[in-house]
Amino acid sequence: MYPFQYHRPANLAEATALLGKLGEGKALAGGQTLIAAMKLRLAQPSDLVDLGGIAELSGIRADGDAIVIGALTRHADVAASAEVGKRIPALARLAGSIGDRQVRAAGTLGGSIANNDPAADYPAGVLGLGATVVTSRRSIAADDFFSGLYETALEPGELIKSVSFPVPQRAGYAKFANPASRFALIGVFVCQEKSGAVRVAVTGGGNGVFRSAELEKALAASFTPAAAAAVKLSADGFSGDLHASPEYRAHLVSVMAGRAVAAALG
């Protein structure tokens, strides 16, 4: 790890002010990705602004037809939340499938989506549910938030405060884990909104989380596992590596979509 200056602000205003004036500063949430990258000397922030002391960033609350989850809320807390489990069980299950027990006890929602790893689970849930990311400056629709590999709409010094998840009619998440890392080789989040509209978000494809128009169309016509599994995606645009070819990834999207729909239907 390279040297850095450490800061532990007590509130959000202080944190954003610090990040605003520090050139190469980074916010530290759960640290499950950032600390690992710093240890391997792959990240070299000049300053770390530890958000761990900011109580206002944690917690889960109902807000009318939405559930609002604070950015610093741990995956384990979302997985175990009675509120989330009752109203958006797919999101609880998604949180419970991230990383491993210890990662879930330390990693946070905000940290995960700000990092936007192309194989992370949470981006699929946020995009699939059509959530709104509330930052220190504004509200950003999920469709506008994830902008590429490890890239988001966040501007320098802008911090995620919370994410507001609209409660859907039904939703499901199915993940095919990479046998080594347990990140998503492919993860598919399907959601039927209260309006009946269908959203499908895919993670693990290689180029960042995305919505599948083909699957959304098919599932809008028939929200059934068979309809999802019948959709055959082109392998173009999927990445290939040691663990999966583009063809296999494309195939897994159909399979996982079918399983996600089955899960959504209970």
Binding site: Q5, G31, A36, K39, G52, G99, D100, Q102, V103, A105
Partner: protein, 155 residues
């Protein structure tokens, strides 16, 4: 610039000034000489460094010591009763031969106790899934699972 750090480790208050780069596991092993917590990888996967931070199993190699500011930390050295009697999970690992070389063992035991805290009566499948953050290269996990089952049955 060093950072002032105070926390509780195995029930004792600890204060130190540390380089902020210090990982929690380094703080435990090198500053406090609590060498029961092991380091088995550098990418946060093997789980040998698992400790309890405010009652939750976390990987101490993947946290800065300063992130434990004000926290309660329990390591394998703090798990047994003050009179030295092993924690039921430690006893179950011994009884069921849930360890061989012993290197992953402290982390495994710390994870297993957290697992039972969350789910006191897990199925075999839940135990196997619940130990997904800990590698063991010796036991094939068979007797580790048995130990957790035995501990759950006894509690």
């Amino acid at each position: 610039m060093n950072v002032k750090l105070s926390l509780t480790v195995n029930g004792k208050a600890v204060a130190a000034e540390v380089d902020p780069r210090t990982l929690l596991v380094q703080f435990l092993r090198e500053h406090l000489r609590l060498t029961g917590t092991h380091v088995g990888c550098d990418t946060g996967q093997c789980g040998a460094c698992t400790i309890h931070l405010d009652g939750r199993a976390v990987k101490s190699c993947n946290l800065l010591a300063v992130q434990a500011q004000g926290a309660e930390v329990t390591t394998i050295e703090g798990l047994a009763a003050p009179n030295g009697d092993m924690h039921p999970m430690q006893a179950a690992f011994k009884e069921c031969h849930g360890l061989q070389c012993g290197f992953c063992t402290p982390g495994m035991v710390m994870s297993a106790t957290a697992l039972l805290k969350d789910n006191p009566k897990p199925t075999e499948e839940q135990i196997r899934a619940g130990l997904d953050g800990n590698f063991c290269r010796c036991t094939g996990y068979h007797n580790i699972v048995k130990a957790v089952q035995s501990c759950a049955a006894g509690s």
